[in-house]
């Protein structure tokens, strides 16, 4: 199935605006109703968008697992906006990009450190980093940013 860029834009914008609003990326059957296309076409558009972006479907299913910077499957990176926690970030780095979807709002990232579970807390608002606790926080990855497509579900 072939899609125009405008058709993919429409689907992408709807998926993104819904996850920003609700914390959940819509299922293809929901996308179908939101933009008034057939379920089959909605699934096709999602599959194409996933090919073009560093997201992924849960292996062997038609469920969107990851739609960066967000994750439908919960991760340890909990995102709160203006005090309300209903989002999960794809990874620690994408957590730092969530702020661009919430202009003018305070985005709080809370996660346990993978060594010992002690908390990490970061607050950002647009260009500003408001809080980093502890102030020694670092990032590290052993896999390429953006990922090898074949391994995305497992990184």
């Amino acid at each position: 199935m072939e899609f125009s860029l405008a058709e993919l834009d429409e689907a992408y914008e709807t998926l993104m605006s819904e996850v920003v609003r609700t914390g959940v990326v819509p299922h293809y059957a929901e996308l179908s109703a939101l933009i008034e296309i057939s379920p089959n076409e909605a699934l096709g558009r999602i599959q194409k968008i996933v090919e073009l972006t560093p997201g992924w479907m849960h292996p062997g299913t038609d469920y969107i697992a990851s739609f960066p910077p967000f994750n439908n499957q919960p991760t340890q990176y909990r995102i709160s906006v203006d005090g309300e926690q209903k989002w999960f970030a794809q990874c620690g780095f994408e957590a730092l990009a969530c702020r661009w979807l919430f202009p003018g709002k305070t985005v709080r990232i809370e996660a346990p450190c993978l060594l010992g579970g002690e908390p990490l807390t970061i607050e950002m608002k647009d260009e500003e980093i408001l809080l980093v606790d502890p102030d020694t926080i670092v990032g590290y990855t052993r896999s390429p940013v953006g990922g090898d497509a074949a391994n995305r579900p497992f990184r």
Partner: protein
């Protein structure tokens, strides 16, 4: 692609790979990386068109340059 309380915790992580040591960077460095145009523009109504065009290619080049080692 994880955050750690400090460098010593990252080096003790079970997935630590000395060959990827260069990715061990302060939070500010990763925050700046994830503030490049590819990430800032996801809220656009024409994001896929933008990403597929000249500006998107430029944004991807900027990101790859920053991540080249």
């Amino acid at each position: 692609m994880n955050l750690f309380r400090a460098e010593e915790q990252a080096r003790l992580f079970h997935d630590w790979d000395q060959d990827m040591e260069w990715t061990l960077q302060p939070l500010q460095w990763w925050a700046t990386t994830f503030a490049t145009p590819m990430f800032r523009n996801r809220g656009r109504s024409d994001f896929i068109t933008w990403m597929s065009g000249e500006k998107g290619a430029s944004a991807m080049h900027e990101l790859r340059s920053r991540l080249s080692h």
